[in-house]
Amino acid sequence: MKVLRITPQRCTGCMRCEIACSYEQSGVFQPAKSVIRISPFEAHTSYAPYTCTQCDEAWCMVACPVNAITISPVGAKIILNDLCVGCKLCTIACPYGTMFYDPDTAKATKCNLCGGAPACATACPTQAIEYVEAESADWLGSFAAERAETQLAQQA
């Protein structure tokens, strides 16, 4: 399967992925609607993107009381808007905090891998986000382990 592989050390925090994501998802440039988000680390010196890993456990699917979450042909967990009742249970269930709630639609919203051509990966100027073949979608574990070594030196 293909997954979004994220290499945080490459991320400069330019937020272009958020602009691209919001455009792909909604047709307008509105980062507030992006389902990939950039977080800062180490004051203003480091950034990393986070979005749904399409994890195998899929706690969101388990939690959803109305079975509004399903798996798309490209392996993304997607929300069926017609079924979603906006209860937000999935946002609580997701251990990575990558299930969002859109107050304008009153529905949950998340990464759907843009149907197999992720806009964030195309837009990222530094290849911090790539869409690549992988055995498992679960890249967060190794990221956390490597993270400590890659921090920019701390202020003395």
Binding site: Q9, R10, C11, T12, G13, C14, M15, R16, I19, A20, S22, Y23, S26, G27, V28, F29, Q30, P31, A32, K33, I38, S39, P40, A43, H44, T45, S46, Y47, A123, P125, T126, L152, A153, Q154, Q155, A156
Partner: protein, 633 residues
Amino acid sequence: MQEELPGGYAGKILRVDLSQNRTWTEAWTAEMCRTCIGGVGLGIKILWDEVPAEVSWDHEDNRLVLATGPLAGLPAWGTGGLTVVTRGALTNGATNTQANGFFGANLKYSGYDAIVLQGRAPEWVYLYIHDDTVELRDASALLGKDTWETQETLEQMLDLTGHQLSVYTSGLAGENQVRFAAIHGDYGHVASKNGCGAVMGNKRLKAVAIVRGSKALRAADPRGLWMAAQEIAEDLQYDPSTRSLYEYGTLPGVSGLSRLGALPIKNYTTNVVPEGVDMSQWTAQGLREGFDHRGHQCNSCGMHHCHAQVLPSGPHQGAIVDEPEYEGWSGAGWAFGCTDPVATSWLNTQVDRACVDVNEFGWLMGWVVECQEKGYVTKEQLGGLTITWGDAEAANALLQMIIRREGFGDVLAEGVKRASETVGGPAAECAIYAMTGNTPRGHDHRARWEEMLDTCTGSGGTLDSGPPVLPTEMGQPARINPFDPDAVARMVGGTRGRRQFEDSLGTCIFTTRTLLSILCRTLSAATGWDFTKDEALLFGRRTAALMRAFNIRCGITPDLERPSKRYGSVPVDGPAQGQDIGAHWEHLLDVWYDMVGYDRQTGKPLPATLEDLGLSHILADLWDAREATHAGT
């Protein structure tokens, strides 16, 4: 019903009256979008309409315009742009100065294309903007803080991190109305020219804090916009003229300019790199790889330009600083004889944190060191301080005195022109400045005549045209003999207008170093216009002429259009040794005036020029009827 606006625009201009604690919005009209675009185009219209001759830079009715443009917040590279337009403290005339970061994007996602500030707050305030919430809030907790501390404090107060909050402030220099105070934001982005930070301080506005808003921006042709953005990105990456800028930003400047005699060394007293300086540290690669670094780019930007870096050695080892621009390596380094990259990098961030223009700072430090060496300024005057060539710690001590206006710092806080005039005697003859008060950028312009001419005739606080980008597109030769006065003046005059167009888009000066035709295509895709290169240049020249008209009204006349004695002197050594721009000065002006269509005697744009540029409506303000018929004949 409100008329439909072109794509790209947020649609509203935010007005703030600090005296009255009142905020309101104004809608654009579609016609205004097309004629003003944004940035400096919008800013100068507001100055012309609302700041009459008697409203000096420190009058509360002065306007401080913080403008973005139609491309800000969109996915072209480098769309966090901020253009500051005001009547500035160094020239008491127009200002056009840019910074990047995230200001432009955050502001537009909150629903505004520009902020226009007027009045003076009774107590220090900061402006808070989040979507429809716009408030002037008590800034007492921020007073005395430098630029980075101000941003950190606001992040804590508002519980926001990263680019969710963009903060622009004028630091302690602004609080004390240092005449060359800048406006700094987002850890390393500075709108530095013409004392715009002093204006902000004069208004008792400590900071502008903009939350990344939740509103949508639309493009008329989004697919066309993505394609144009991609085309710009590829051009910047692969074209030989921009490739090193893409890879290294402005870092190649030091070694490159040193070979042309255009690196300013020790207050223009030499153009030869001192013996023992290891220039391999000063190559682009040396400066980038000499520090642990990480990309810190602006909104939507893919250039390998802005970086955070860590000092590898020295008394401040381990400190996180902002990788200096060429201007920082020069102003916080070479200009006063500092040839140690680590010390320079540290000092450059101190300058940013203090919030003054690094160019003016460099000329000031170079002048002080030379004056102390020659006995024109004594140790006692400097409060017991001795500063020798290259002493970054002493330079920082002076910087701290300047931004607090302590002792001799109060004299230096007026900028190098006024400080040297105050001290007088031979000290007055070794200061680098343009007579208008414009601050030269960080080169030795005695080996870069285009920029000296541009700086001395510029209407915005520094140069107007800048180094030519793809001049053949504007009918100019690709390359000229840099010491041929005719060619130099024709190039500066003939490329006038492009910069003002760029400065109105809401983008960065580096990410617009592509063909004008591609920029027009990008603008058209965003807005739905059919913008052409000719319209872009007409717009730019109109904007430049309006800036010039504003300055004429402010009393800035052509007799001021010359370099100071040292600035216009003859290099005594190095590659440009003996080149004497002064011998050609009047001729340079003659040719330039002819090219741009302004009147050589009065400096005013000629009536015919005003008409060609669509500025007939200001003709009567500049010319009386009798004069107008004779002008230019």
